[in-house]
């Protein structure tokens, strides 16, 4: 076997880069099969009730309109596990924006016009979309996987009361929208009973399985392709209604159908981050050791599906205290179904916990970095399992050194530049190590080249590239000799790109397949390969999902410096720095992009992103990209992302932890804590927009 430079860890350029910069990379709505028709959905105009009549006369008279589908004439589907996929199956309207009809036309223009011409009558019922912590319907959800429900250690309330130092504070995080740049889209085509779909998805295997079940087909009659995906951030983690509608419309019309959701419709149908209210009670001894931690999170879910934003899950991981209670409560309301958004649970939960920790540091009169170091641990507080690796202290210390934390004047409002108050803040971050079983095939060709096949999805992480690196090292060959085939459900089955687990899951199977292939090649003793080459297959079921004796999480520390304009209430981030302990970093170039990208989304969560559930109408007021402010270029300063060398033998064969989400965790708290340090005023509701900041400054002055 030839000597090779280790591929893993190298800053290899992403393989699809040339396609992406020349516009030749095709996304789900960019296929145009012959005879392709266009679909446009009709959202419900009420927040709760029933459809009583569908008048499609005007729509069908629009030139070019082929078909109007509603629950009255749509094909019956098998009942899905996910109720949001039961589209056009009955007259029920569980929330505003729920799809009640679909127009199919020869052109995009006709489909849009037709959708506007469909008349729907409703029997409207009273609705309730307002999240309140004292809502009578609030309940503690069942804890299915350790991240939800309620966990209790000791007597948290009594210990809290008896402690010399406490904080008792409430933090609010609004609804947040994933808004990937590529709206959810699918192009579906039936040929001889075979369904082929190009879908914008984070995991085409699951989409294939769900479509097969819904349309009552064997899985091998369905192919789902997700070759390039324009971001997802959780909102494409499982099939969404658009792909079902596209397949349905193609079936009914006998033509290929393309459906790209209009941006304004996304908030109601693709999932969003539930708003959460966090009551944090932290109690400490005078020596800054935590005595009691109580984190109560209230969020909402829809009437048709339970989704819990598990905001207290990370609190079970972070700091030891003899007494603790972490409780989730959820209120079913007439709202769109919330779902995953980047670091679901951890992002809002760590905003609240790490902000409260900052408040506790102020109460104790200790440095906030010190407070976290003082409460470091080798053992996961909730499970009592040892951490496979933690290194939070190293992240905090390295970050503090790089950021120049030691020079910080701890007094609030101590840096005044004209009308701008400058401050800095810190927060810790954590995200669990996840992995799921995956299959993969590695194949060697006689010419010395290799291909690995796995239905991984590249939503922007650089999966093609990093999997080639994994394969190259397992095979002991240069990375250039390895091709990767990903993005189709016809490839070996694989889990989604989500939960910061894609690379770990796929890479594990790729590594196993390549190790087996290498072994076969070694056994063959350099004999010439048959013309078709030889293959090895791996399936990590039972391995990747095996229980561990260790608590496995990534950790990190975020540092932020902000300027707060006292004239306008505008907050601008001047510096952001993150240091991570995330196992082995497999590609320095693409990993940095993921860390930085997570931080940018955290910046948005802190300062610009907020959505409002309109109590009268039951929808989100900020439904488009003009109203919902994702950060723009001008909001984003230079961002530093660093990592420490971390060797952890209890992970996967690559030694990696996930990196896709931890960047958002803790960023909002670091920025909020910096705003407090700058102004001396504590704001406890995100985002920190000028209206809130100016009002707080005026009240505090």
């Amino acid at each position: 076997m030839p000597d090779t430079v280790k591929a893993l860890g190298a800053p290899t350029e992403r393989r699809e880069g040339p396609d992406k910069v020349t516009g030749t990379a095709r996304y789900a709505a960019e296929y145009r099969p012959d005879g392709c028709a266009y679909a446009w959905p009709v959202p419900a105009g009420i927040a709760r009730g029933k459809v009583t009549a569908v008048d499609d006369t005007a729509a069908l008279s629009v030139p070019g309109v082929i078909k109007v589908l509603s629950h009255l004439n749509a094909p019956r589907l098998a009942e899905p596990d996910d109720a949001t996929l039961a589209v056009l199956q009955d007259e029920r309207v569980p929330h505003r924006g729920w799809y009640v009809a679909l127009v199919v036309a020869d052109t995009l223009e006709a489909a849009r016009e037709g959708a506007g011409a469909v008349r729907i009558d409703y029997a409207e019922e009273d609705h309730d979309v307002t999240l309140r912590t004292d809502h009578p319907d609030a309940y503690v959800p069942e804890d299915k996987d350790g991240t939800s429900g309620e966990h209790v250690r000791g007597d948290a309330e009594a210990a809290f009361e008896s402690a010399p130092v406490h904080v008792d504070v409430e933090y609010h995080v609004p609804p947040l929208h994933n808004h990937p740049m590529e709206p959810h889209a699918a192009t579906a085509q039936w040929q001889d009973g075979q369904l082929t779909v190009h879908d914008s998805s984070q995991g085409a295997t699951t989409v294939r399985d769900v479509l097969a079940a819904l349309f009552d087909l064997p899985a091998d009659r369905v192919t789902v392709v997700s070759e390039h995906v324009g971001g997802g951030f959780g909102s494409k983690g499982t099939p969404r209604p658009h792909v079902v509608l596209a397949a349905m419309a193609a079936h009914v019309t006998g033509r290929p159908v393309k459906l790209a959701l209009p941006r304004r419709q996304l908030p109601a149908v693709v999932g969003h981050r539930s708003p959460t209210v966090h009551r944090l009670r932290l109690a400490a001894q005078d020596d800054a050791t935590l005595l009691s931690v109580i984190h109560e999170v209230t969020g909402y879910t829809s009437r048709i599906k339970e989704f819990v934003e598990t905001g207290a899950a990370a609190t079970r991981v972070m700091y030891p205290s003899p007494h603790a209670r972490t409780t989730h409560r959820v209120v079913p309301l007439d709202v769109p179904s919330p779902s995953w958004m980047r670091a679901p649970g951890e992002a809002p939960g760590m905003y609240a916990l790490e902000s409260a920790m900052d408040e506790l540091a102020v109460e104790l009169g200790v440095d906030p970095v010190h407070l976290r170091l003082r409460n470091d641990t080798d053992t996961e507080p909730d499970s009592a399992k040892p951490f496979s690796s933690r290194h939070l202290a190293e992240c905090l210390e390295e970050g503090a050194r790089r950021f120049g934390w030691a020079e910080r004047d701890a007094r609030p409002r101590s840096r005044v530049h004209g009308s701008v108050l400058v401050g800095s803040g810190v927060a810790a971050a954590t995200y669990p190590v996840n992995a799921s079983p995956s299959q993969a095939v590695a194949h060697a060709f006689p010419d010395g080249s290799y291909v690995v096949r796995v239905n991984a999805t590249d939503i922007g992480t650089g999966a093609r590239t990093v999997l080639a690196q994994v394969a190259a090292d397992a095979l002991g060959v240069p990375v250039e000799r390895v091709r990767t085939e990903i993005g189709s459900s016809d490839l070996p089955a694989a889990p989604l790109a989500g939960g910061s687990s894609g690379t770990a899951s796929w890479g594990w199977a790729v590594h196993e397949a390549c190790a087996r292939l290498a072994e076969r090649l070694t056994r063959s003793g350099g004999k010439e390969l048959p013309p078709e080459g030889i293959s090895a297959r791996a399936d990590t079921a039972g391995t990747a999902d095996a229980d561990s004796d260790y608590a496995r999480h990534a950790f990190g520390a975020h540092f932020a410096e902000v300027g707060v304009d006292t004239v306008t209430g505008e907050v601008r981030v001047r510096r952001l720095l993150g240091v991570y302990a995330a196992g082995r970093i497999l590609n320095a170039r693409t990993a940095r992009s993921q860390f930085v990208g997570g931080i940018v989304m955290g910046l948005g969560m802190a300062l610009t992103e907020g959505s409002t559930m309109d109590p009268a109408f039951g929808d989100f007021t900020e439904s488009d990209l003009a109203g919902y402010h994702v950060p723009a270029h001008a909001d984003v300063p230079v961002i530093e992302a660093h990592w420490i060398d971390e060797e952890d033998p209890h992970l996967n064969p690559m030694g990696s932890k996930g990196i896709g989400e931890i960047g958002i965790v803790g960023t909002a708290a670091a920025i909020g804590n910096a705003v407090y340090h700058a102004t001396g005023v504590r704001l406890r509701e995100l985002p920190l927009t000028p209206d809130r900041v100016l009002t707080a400054l005026d009240a505090g002055a």
Partner: protein, 333 residues
């Protein structure tokens, strides 16, 4: 969007004739708002008269020192024009604080004046809106009203006007030139946009079928210190929470000329005449500025979610006045 006829006009006369005052005729400039509203179904024209290539794309100086901006000058070209940057910095700054480079490259002077409110209830056909559908009600007044008006609103409508450029034009005492079937006429920019009253469907005093042909900037404001300040939810590419345009002339330690207009507070650029009146002849002190602005804003009637706009507007106006009072006068030519 329903099918429509498309006519490219080669002259102003041809344009107004093609429009013919028909209810479903619309002039097309840069299209950045009209096409947007057509996609939403808010605008449903039967005929579009494309005026974007009319010979109205010049910026010319008259012998009396006034400057005429053609209606089809693109916002980016106007902001970059040396005459505008040199003599009317408030206008250049206002333009550059709006939208994005791409949108400014398309948007025209006339179209910018005619852009419609970004009120989310106006944009959503599924909700009541007296502006879009007279008599249907106002979803915003008791709805999510953070971005809405604090001045001059009515029971019928609480929308704000979204333009930055128009705020600067109001402060510059600009004149809007119109051409209709009855011939040309001129309106002061500060009176071009209306308050909603009981006719919120009418944004402006423009008669249907009239075409904006240009805007004239008077020489009186040329070279005086002027500036624009805008506050928004993100650092760029967002509409104003509040903004202010100020032109200030101080001579012999007294305010000789002052013009103040607010954006983001009302259904039209809000010319602060009472504040101006209070300041003329006064010493340009912080106290005088604050007193004058407070006088103007005392008539504000915030809605449930937008009381912050009053102190925000006060702060930026006073800050900008203070800044300009300390600035040397710009050259007049």
């Amino acid at each position: 969007m329903k099918p429509f006829r498309y006519v490219r006009a080669h002259s102003v006369e041809e344009a107004t004739a093609a429009h013919a005052g028909r209810a479903a005729s619309r002039y097309l400039g840069g299209g950045t708002n009209l096409v947007d509203l057509m996609k939403l179904g808010v605008e449903r024209p039967e005929t579009l008269i494309d005026v974007s290539r009319l010979d109205l794309d010049g910026v010319e100086e008259f012998s009396d020192g006034s400057v005429r901006l053609g209606a089809t000058v693109r916002n980016s070209d106007l902001a970059a024009h040396p005459l505008i940057r040199g003599r009317y910095p408030v206008l250049s700054q206002a333009l550059l604080s709006g939208a994005s480079g791409q949108l400014r490259n398309a948007a025209t002077t006339g179209g910018n004046l005619l852009q419609r409110t970004r009120c989310p209830y106006f944009q959503d056909l599924g909700k009541p809106c007296n502006k879009r559908e007279p008599g249907s009600g106002c979803g915003a007044r008791d709805g999510v009203s953070r971005d809405h008006a604090v001045l001059g609103h009515s029971a019928q409508c609480v929308a704000t006007h979204p333009s930055d450029m128009a705020v600067a034009l109001a402060a510059l005492d600009a004149q809007v030139e119109l051409r209709g079937p009855q011939g040309p006429r001129t309106l002061p920019a500060a009176e071009f946009h209306r308050l909603p009253g009981d006719r919120p469907d009418r944004d402006t005093e423009l008669d249907h079928g009239e075409l904006i042909t240009g805007v004239v900037l008077p020489s009186s404001a040329a070279g005086l210190p002027s500036a624009y300040r805008k506050v928004r939810d993100r650092a760029s590419y967002a509409f104003a929470l509040a903004s202010v345009a100020v032109v200030l002339g101080v001579e012999d330690t007294r305010v000789r000329t002052v013009r103040i207009a607010f954006g983001g507070l009302a259904h039209r650029p809000w010319r602060a005449l009472r504040a101006e009146e209070a300041l003329v002849g006064q010493e340009p002190t912080d106290e005088a500025f604050l007193r004058a602005i407070d006088t103007e804003l005392s008539e504000a009637e915030p809605l449930r979610d937008n009381a912050f706009k009053v102190p925000l507007a006060r702060n930026i106006a006073c800050d900008l006045l203070r800044h300009l009072a300390a600035a040397p006068a710009a050259p007049t030519s």
